[in-house]
């Protein structure tokens, strides 16, 4: 067992945005009892003790936490590389200056599209102008700027314009991340999954821009795994390199693992060190012993680690199956059918996009926890 390198601190699931591809869990109401400032300070200290070197401050919108500056200062004092992943709403000049003084290393700002009306429509709130202003502040205060864009059926045709915008605002890195189907994105999968033609066009644009802007900008293109032959090496292997702490203190190997039927592990009940080493949520799929066929005898088992456990669970109801994205998976037809639907000639009946709520409302949408293991689930 190695020490983890990165901590994803999901400070809150509250968010001013309502993006339908959000990876936060559907049962947002279960995460309202957020960790206190003191609890987060302890988590950061314990994470550094455990070997963590990077701290990603995310959410929801981390700027909604009034103690964000204090948490950044503490992480910085521990020597951690601090990375803020934000919608930029609430990133005022004053707040930015406080964060800079506290030692924040890097800022990633999301944008939903290059065009104000499209971006605002996907975000569910007027936000585009504020995001662009915030990017200006990031550059002005001397931070490197990463622009994050989640790609899906409704904005992927605009990749060239998105990259032109990134150039215009002086982004140092651009992450073009094809939607991963967890949380709200899973619920909205049918509406979000792009066609093969859309993907191929976007990839060609990203590749050409990567060449052209080689000396100025890093373009990171996150692969759309539904269209891949092999699964992604999710998180570099289960509980191998990273850990996530959710707003209420649950500890997970990745931010999508809330939905798996594994016993909870919480920083409110145990130390991070013990959880990392011993808790079932960490040990269940660590290494290769858990693997079924065809993974067990596959030469790629230490290349992709059987793919994503959460994706296997969402698609088949069994987290211990081969990721159905893999063409060798006995469940691959589940992915093939979704892809087929996304490529059907006419889509007169485009499925509606369900926005995630800004905060849990009464009563919350149906919980994401599927029922019996083995039950086949369809996207919502």
């Amino acid at each position: 067992m190695d020490s983890p390198f990165g901590l994803l601190a999901e400070l809150t699931y509250r968010c001013p945005l309502a993006c339908p591809y959000c990876s936060n869990p559907l049962n947002l109401a279960d995460y309202q009892d957020e960790l206190t400032t003191d609890e987060w300070l302890r988590v950061l200290t314990e994470a550094e003790d455990l070997g963590v070197l990077q701290c990603h401050l995310s959410g929801g919108e981390p700027l909604l936490r009034r103690d964000l500056v204090e948490l950044v200062a503490h992480a910085h004092a521990l020597g951690l590389y601090t990375n803020l992943i934000t919608s930029a709403l609430g990133f005022s000049r004053r707040k930015a200056e406080e964060l800079r003084a506290a030692g924040l290393d890097h800022v990633q700002i999301s944008i939903q599209a290059d065009e104000p009306a499209v971006s605002d429509r996907i975000a569910g709130i007027t936000s585009f102008r504020r995001k662009i202003e915030a990017m200006g502040v990031v550059k002005e205060l001397g931070w490197p700027l990463t622009m994050n864009v989640v790609l899906h059926r409704h904005n992927i045709d605009r990749v060239a314009d998105v990259l032109a915008l990134a150039e215009e605002v002086g982004a140092d890195r651009v992450e073009l991340a094809n939607t991963q189907y967890y949380g709200w994105a899973w619920r909205n999968r049918a509406a979000l999954l792009p066609s093969r033609a859309q993907l191929e066009a976007a990839e060609a644009v990203a590749r050409a821009a990567g060449e052209r802007l080689r000396d100025r900008m890093d373009i990171i293109y996150v692969i759309p795994d539904y269209y891949s032959r092999y699964p992604k090496p999710c998180m570099g292997g289960w509980a191998s390199r990273q850990l996530t702490v959710t707003p209420n203190g649950d500890v997970l190997p990745c931010p999508a693992a809330q939905s798996l039927p594994l016993p909870r592990a919480s920083v409110r009940e145990d130390s991070l060190e013990r959880i990392w080493a011993e808790s079932p949520v960490m040990t269940a799929f660590r290494g290769t012993d858990w693997m079924p066929e065809p993974c067990r005898s596959c030469p790629r088992r230490e290349v992709d680690f059987g793919g994503c456990r959460c994706q296997a669970f969402l698609l088949t109801g069994d987290a211990a199956r081969t990721d159905p994205v893999c063409h060798l998976s006995p469940d691959h037809d589940l992915v093939a059918k979704a892809v087929e639907a996304a490529n059907a000639g006419s889509r007169d009946d485009d499925p509606p996009l369900v926005p995630r709520p800004h905060r849990p409302g009464p009563p919350p949408v149906a919980r994401s926890r599927p029922g019996r293991p083995g039950a086949r689930r369809r996207p919502g």
């Binding site: 390198f5 931070w143 490197p144 590749r207 373009i219 998180m235």
Partner: protein, 109 residues
């Protein structure tokens, strides 16, 4: 140099080509990159928003000298004094890989 991806699964749109590094260049770490010491691993590590590179002794020694003042030639000399077997082209290749990733920047001598 074996970078450990710590971010989500991703791939680059392009593989940066090799970059020439000359003896008079003065390398320095890029703004978004930090050199740190990992207590747990008792190793130096290079930190980037999504990646960690745990360094061996000579890698760490090279990067500590990437301060925008030392030239590549001076770094090679310095390393030669500390380690018996750090050939010139190995230092250059190491730096060239980091320059290609935009983790190290070069200024002319």
């Amino acid at each position: 140099m074996d970078p450990t991806r710590t971010g989500p699964t991703r791939t680059r749109s392009t593989t940066p080509p090799g970059v020439g590094v000359s003896g008079s260049d003065r390398p320095r770490l890029a703004a978004h990159v930090r050199l740190t010491f990992s207590r747990t691993r008792q190793r130096k590590a290079l930190l980037h928003p999504e990646t960690v590179v745990v360094l061996n002794g000579s890698g760490a020694a090279i990067l500590e000298l990437c301060d925008g003042r030392h030239t590549v030639a001076e770094i090679v000399t310095e390393l030669g004094a500390r380690y018996e077997t750090v050939p010139d082209d190995e230092v250059r290749q190491f730096l060239a890989r980091l320059v290609a990733r935009r983790w190290v920047e070069l200024t002319d001598g």
